[in-house]
Each structure stands twice: as C-alpha cells, then as structure tokens.
Symmetry: C3
Subunit: 126 residues, 3 copies
C-alpha cells in the first residue's frame, strides 16, 4: 500500500490522468515490487499560479507542467531501491505520456506497517 | 493535534462533510484520547476519475465512494491503539453517515511534538 | 528541498497566493537556511466548510482565514531551529500579507535525503 498523491496543473485530459496513476503503479511494481493490484492514488488539479517548482534548482529545468508525486509507503527500502523507483517513474511517465523527466518531482514519506487501514476498520499489515 | 486530511469524491453535501470531520474527531477522542476541541482537518473533493482505490486489494471490496483519510499525529501510539483507532473511525462513519466500512482507507504519518505550530509562531507542544 | 503544501479558504487573490509561497520560502531561507531558489510548493483552495481549525484550542483564537502549512523536509533540525522557523513564517506572513499569526498552523514531516527526486529520475540528495 503505497498511497500516491499527485498534484499537477489543471488542463490535462481524464485519460492523461488515469494513465498517470497506472504508469506510476507500474513503475512501483517493476522497481520496488509492490503487490499486484495495490493501487491507491489521488490527483489534485492545481490552478495556474497555485504551485511553484523552483525554476532550475539543482540543475534541472522544470516547467509549469511539473508533476508533484508524494508517495507514502512502508519504510525499509534501500537507497538503491529508491533510486530505481525514481528512474522507473520518470521513464514510465515519459514513455506513456511524454512527460518530460525534468518535470517529475517525487517525495517519499516512510511509515510502518501498522500505519495503514485498507478498509473494514482493520490494520491489514500489522 | 492530529491533522486530518480527507479526500473523497465530489458530490456529497456540506452537511455530510461537516459530519465526517466531526465523526473522525469523535473516533480519535474515544480511541486514542486526543484532547477536547483538538480539531484540525481539511477535505479535498476529487473529480470522478481523479482517484483509484484498488478494487478488492487485500480482500476488501472498495467502491468509488472510498474515503481516504491521512492523519498526521504524534508518534508513540501502540499497534493496539492504532487498531482501535481504525475500528473507531470505521464504526463512527458507518453509524453517522452510512459510509461502508470497506470504503474507509486510513494512513497515519507519525511526527514529533516539536513538529507542530498551532498558531502565533510558537511550538506549543515542544 | 522542503516541499510546502498550503491549504486555505477559497477567495484570496492570485497575488496573495503567490506572495504566500514566496514569504514562506523567505522565512525558510532566513530561519533554517534552505538553499537559494529551493522553491517547491502547492496551494489547495478549500471551499467554505471543508476545513476546521479548532476554534481556540491551545489558547489560540483561530478564524476561518486559517492557513494550514505542511512542510516535508529533511530530518535533523533542532527544536530551536524549528521554533525559529515557526516564528519566521508567522512574522513574514503578517508583514507581507497581514495574515493574523493566530491563523498560521504549521506541521512538519521529516524525511531522509534519499527520499527526494527533484527531476530527471535521479535522487539528487542521496
């Protein structure tokens, strides 16, 4: 159960956004081996002007087509696994949606297995 | 000061959403003993198609009436306390709003007392 | 790379919101020394009734002009540094936008350097 929260500029199509959630899911499947069908995601569409992505900070030329992806997931992945995850997300979004890799900004938040309830008032991973 | 961030599909009434914030507050009061009047919550209403809740992953049949609840709270609750919290939220939302327990997805993020400012530029818990 | 997620009531001007992102950036520059040009922020505008800020909990009289600021940032700041951060944000928002300090609610989430990708599928801080 990673929980993937996506923010991007208003103006994309519903198809684009549906594919984006699926592409990130596929990237997580491939790179960090999340379980099959483990899809939990939300998309918030931001008005022009309601975000900033820091121009060329860290030597990356971002545009206002930036996609902010915040993933809450269980702790324990190695640095190498996280690097593989970032590479896989950027590659999948470029391949499936022609998103520029420069515009893919990812932030991870690590939690513990007991920090999830997937429904029915139960802690399925604890 | 838990901070409760709720995401759900557009189309509920204002009363429904107000009750939802109050029901989750009451569930946290009862199960993990948060202080009286400690209510901090936001609700984001998502367009149809701007979320996915993973069909029947983990054997739970979710619908598109799913409610995503992400709670940032101080670290230190036991696994049992978290289990009680999930049960209380699902029960309260079912009782007050007829939300299906299957559709209640909760994610906790633990932080430290010094990670909060409740106003006035002060760290009230540090 | 702090990532700053702001939520506030609908009805402010675009200028107000642009200044808010810049003011919080300046406060982080001054108080905790984030790098120059390290601006990553989103703003979600909430409908009236889609948030609650707990009346006068902890002795602070908040109004519905409350601003919720959740900042994801690298771990390691001292309690004193966090206190300086809260004070700087409240002061800057009051000075630049006449936001009441009582209405500035901040929540920090600490992560590790390898939890960021600032673009290009790379982990720039790892």
């Amino acid at each position: 159960m990673p929980f993937t929260q996506i923010s991007l500029k208003k103006g994309t199509t519903a198809d684009f956004r549906a594919t984006m959630m699926e592409s990130i899911y596929l990237a997580m499947r491939e790179s960090i081996g999340i379980p099959e069908d483990d899809r939990f995601a939300t998309i918030v569409e931001l008005e022009e002007g309601n975000f900033t992505s820091s121009g060329n900070y860290a030597g990356v030329e971002r545009t206002d087509n930036v996609v902010f992806i915040q993933i809450t997931l269980n702790a324990g992945r190695t640095v190498d696994a996280k690097k593989a995850l970032y590479a896989a997300i950027a590659k999948q979004l470029e391949q499936d949606l022609a998103v520029r890799p420069e515009d893919v900004v990812v932030s991870l938040i690590e939690v513990s297995p007991e920090d999830w309830s997937l429904g029915n008032g139960l802690a399925q991973y604890a």
